[in-house]
Each structure stands twice: as C-alpha cells, then as structure tokens.
Amino acid sequence: MTIGDLSGKGGRRRRAFDRLMSGLIYGAVVAAIVPLVAIVGEVVIQGLPQINWEFLTALPRPPTIPGGGIFNAIEGSTIMVGLAALIAVPLGVGAGIYFSEWPESRLSFLSSFTNDVLAEFPTITLGIFVYLVVVLTTHTFSAIAGAIALSIVMIPIVARTTEESLKLVPHTLREASMALGIPRWKTVIRIVISTGKTGLATGILLSVARAAGETAPLVVTALWSVYPVTNLWGPTGSIPYLIFYYGLSPYQTWHGYAWGGAFLLVVFMLGLNLSVKLLIGRKFAGIRAEI
C-alpha cells in the first residue's frame, strides 16, 4: 500500500470519520447562522413595509387610528445616544490612554480592573444607579438621565478598545519618538494615538451600536414620551423602549410601530458593524505595510 492510498479498510474508516466530523462542523455553522438570518429576515419582512416618510416624521397615534410614526423615538434615541457619546468618548478614550501608556501606575491598574468589572455589569443595575442618583434627586425622568446611563454602558467599551488598540502600536515607535527629544505626553498624542486611531474609531462605533440598542437602562431613567423632545429634563422616548412597550401591546397598529422601529435599529447596527469591518480592513492593510 502506498502512502495516500485510501482504498484499504483503514482508509475507508478514516474517510467516513472525516465526513462525519466535517458534517458536524457544517451543522454547527448552520445552527449558529439560522437564528441570525431568521431574526433579520423576520424584522425585514415585518418592518420594511412600515417605513415611509410619515413613519419617520409623524408621532404615534392611539391604537384605533391608522398611520402615524415614531419620530419621538427616533429623535429621543438620537439625542440620548449622542449625549452619551459626548460624555463617554472623552472619558473612555482618556481612561484607555492612561491604561495603555501608564500601566506602571497603581491607579491605572485599579481603574483598569474596575473598568473590566463595569463592562460585565448587568445594564439594569447601571440604570437603577442612575435612577437613584439622577432621577430621584431631580424628581423627573429625563433625556439627561438616560444619556448618563447609556454613557456608563459605553465608557468601559471605549476604554478597553482604546487600550487594546494603543497597545498594538509597536513600542519601538514610542522609543523612536522619545529618542528625538519629544516629551512623553506629546509622543502619546502625536505618535501613539495617530498610529492607533483606526482602533479608537472602531471602539467608539461599537460602543454607539451597543448603546443604541440598550433598553434596560432607559426604562428606569428616560422612561417614555409620545411627544417630540422640547426639554432635556423631561421623559423622553427611544426606539428600544418603543419596541418593548408597543410590541407588548395588544394592538395591531402599535405592533407595526414596534416592527418599524426594530427594522431601523437593525439597519443602524448593521451599518455601524459594516463600517467597523471596513475600518479594520484598512487597519490591517496599514499594519502589513509597516512590516
């Protein structure tokens, strides 16, 4: 029998085993993809027909009157996620830079550990915390409280991805810069961050995607409103809350709002994830050029 001859008895057994294992792996892939495809498919089938100009610009109506839209939720989500990003991006990027560039400090070690714990925290507990600290002291549910809760969800994600992407910047570049007589802080800002900026952008986009889909922290902080936002210190609508609230209602027209909202959210997330993929593709192209 020559090497590579699979006609013998052992060969048949090995081929059968190979087919079995390949089959199991393909099966696992299909099992993992089916729910994703089913969910996205269902959301598109149910949600896409809802989308029209009125749906994007009008306010929800009582269950018996057809038409209307979810402008209040789109506006509320945009404002709260935007405000949350304004809070979380500077804090998260700052913390990430500190973790990556000053790892020898004890404060850095402690806060990095805390950051990891915070990232794993159930988001409803973050919501309750903001409820206690902001909602109870200001005596109102508000967009501000919602944004603060979302920012607490975002900070650890931004900080961690910032830290990881700055750590990928070769140490030799920091030394090259310091050896030119450039101070450490300037080296960090002008060399390290500018080299790792695609990673930073990736982290920010992912954290925005995560915050846009968060429901639990908003339930106890921003609550809901069927009106456009006129006051950041009043209850505010959001797309996740809309899906939760209208989706559980017994009315057909309200279910339509929930499906439409879900569709917008899914499109937004897919868009962000796609941009991240493109960014990362470019980043790796850059690293190849470096080597």
Binding site: E104, A179, K186, S194, A289
Partner: protein, 276 residues
C-alpha cells in the same frame, strides 16, 4: 569554566586602561561606574569608558553582555522601561546627564539614536518622518523644515532616491532605505552624538555596506557609538572598540590594536571565535 575564571581574574585587575592615543583628548562622553539593570538584577556592572569626539566607537560583545543597555543609558532611554534602574554617572562634555537637575528630554535632543529595526512613523510621509523631531517640538517655519529635510536626507545619502516621492509613506521604502530614513530623522534635530544599536542587523549585505559607508562620513560631524555583535563590522567601521562581557568592560582600545594584539585573554578568545 575557563571564561568564568578569566573574568574573576579581571575583577582583581586595575581598571581598564584608556588607549594612549586618547590621553589628553577631552572625551565627548565619559561614564563613571555606570551600573544599570532591571529591578534587583544588574545588567551593567560599573562601566568606566571614555568615548572620544568625532570618532566611531564600537561596543562589541556576545548577546546579553549589556552593550545595548549601555547605549540606552547614554540617552536616558533605559529608564523608560518599567523597573529599570541606573547608578553612576555619564558625563556629556563633562556634565552628568544623570544629574538631578538634568532634563532627559533636552538631553535626548543632543543625542540621536538609530535602532536595530528601522522604525519610521508609519502614519507619516517620508518628509514628515525626517522633520518629525522638529515639528513635534513646535517648529512651523516651512522654509526651515524644507531645508532641514533636504540636508538630513542628503546627510543620510537618501536624498537622490526619495527626492521625487517625499509625500509617500515612509513605510513604502525598502528596509535599508527605511534605516537611512531613520538616520536622517536623527540628523534633523542636529544632535552631537549618534547612538546606533545594531543598525544593520535587520539589513542585507548591500544595505549594510551603504550604512557603513554613511557612518564613515558622519563621523566628521558627529560622535558615533555603534553597538554590534558583528566582529567584522566593528573592525570595518570603528576607530575604537570596547569589548563587553557579562556587564563589564573587558578591554578598550584602538580597533586595530584590539583585534591584532588584544591585551586580555578573554578578548582574544572572543575575537578568535572560541566563544560568543
């Protein structure tokens, strides 16, 4: 075992003598009892070395002898590694760079460094790589920057190869060109000393020859300290050679003398390839 023994012998001997041709010459750099290490273990065990101005001094020795740590102490780069410790003195023109009032950033501007692997800034063009040391320290005058870029690239014998593509990424150049770009970047801040840490170890023989040619030119204007584990390279480029072993300076002499007529048995054994 024999090597260990001869090292023991060394410890009992008087300090390493300075080559007679250097007596009366004010050294550019002088280290006195320079010790360096990480945590509680010393990599360098008290180095006394006088580096002459406008000459090429090679620091040679087997892996782990402390030669890289030594040059990294000369521009206070060693201390940036977490856990690094330094003791003793390193005098640049008679002033201790480890003095409590010495500013490491200002010192590093007087001492350029070229690293083992070429490390141009990947996000910057060739032009911006060369003038990075100036722009990042606040120089905005376009004329001055253009002048510095051209002078430095000419100084590094790279100008003719890149003059038409200054806006291209520094990473687009070949390895040897990248290393000369890094030399140009070091020249642009007009240092007095250039430290080179095995600058050719990542390069092919042709690129190595070019860098060595360049070193011979640069010594007219700069004091050069080059770390190498390559004996031939030391003998080709260096006027003086220091032989390090296990964190100690074993012998320091004119390169020709050290290679042809070493005083120490350890040096001879290293040069003849008996160990290392």
């Amino acid at each position: 075992m024999e090597i260990q023994e001869s090292l023991e012998v060394r410890k009992e001997m008087a300090e390493v003598s300075t080559p007679t041709s250097l007596s009366g010459i004010q050294p550019k750099f002088e280290t006195k009892g320079l010790k360096a290490g990480f945590g509680s273990s010393w990599v360098l065990n008290g180095i006394d070395l006088r580096i002459p101005p406008n000459r090429v001094t090679a620091v040679m020795g087997p892996s782990g002898c402390g030669k890289t740590t030594f040059v990294r102490c000369l521009n206070r780069l060693h201390e940036l590694t977490p856990g690094a410790v330094v003791e003793g003195a390193a005098l640049l023109d008679g002033e201790d760079i480890y003095d409590r009032n010495a500013d490491p950033v200002a010192i590093r501007r007087r001492i350029g460094m070229v690293f083992q692997k070429p490390n141009p800034f990947p996000t910057m063009s060739i032009y911006h790589n060369v003038v990075a040391g100036l722009t990042l320290n606040g120089e905005r005058d376009k004329k001055k920057l253009d002048h510095a870029a051209e002078q430095s690239l000419r100084g590094a014998y790279l100008w003719d190869e890149v003059r038409d593509k200054l806006a291209n990424s520094g990473a687009s150049l070949s390895g040897g060109q990248q290393q000369r770009l890094c030399i140009a970047r070091a020249l642009a801040v007009e240092p007095e000393v250039i430290l080179m840490d095995e600058p050719c170890s990542a390069l092919d023989p042709t690129a190595t020859a070019k860098i060595e040619e360049l070193i011979a030119q640069l010594k007219k204007d700069y004091t050069i300290v080059i770390v190498t584990h390559n004996l031939q390279q030391a003998s080709r480029v260096a006027d003086y050679t220091a032989f390090f072993y296990l964190g100690k300076l074993v012998e320091f002499d004119e390169t020709a003398t050290l290679f042809e007529n070493p005083k120490e048995e350890l040096t001879e054994r290293y040069i003849t390839g008996k160990f290392g």
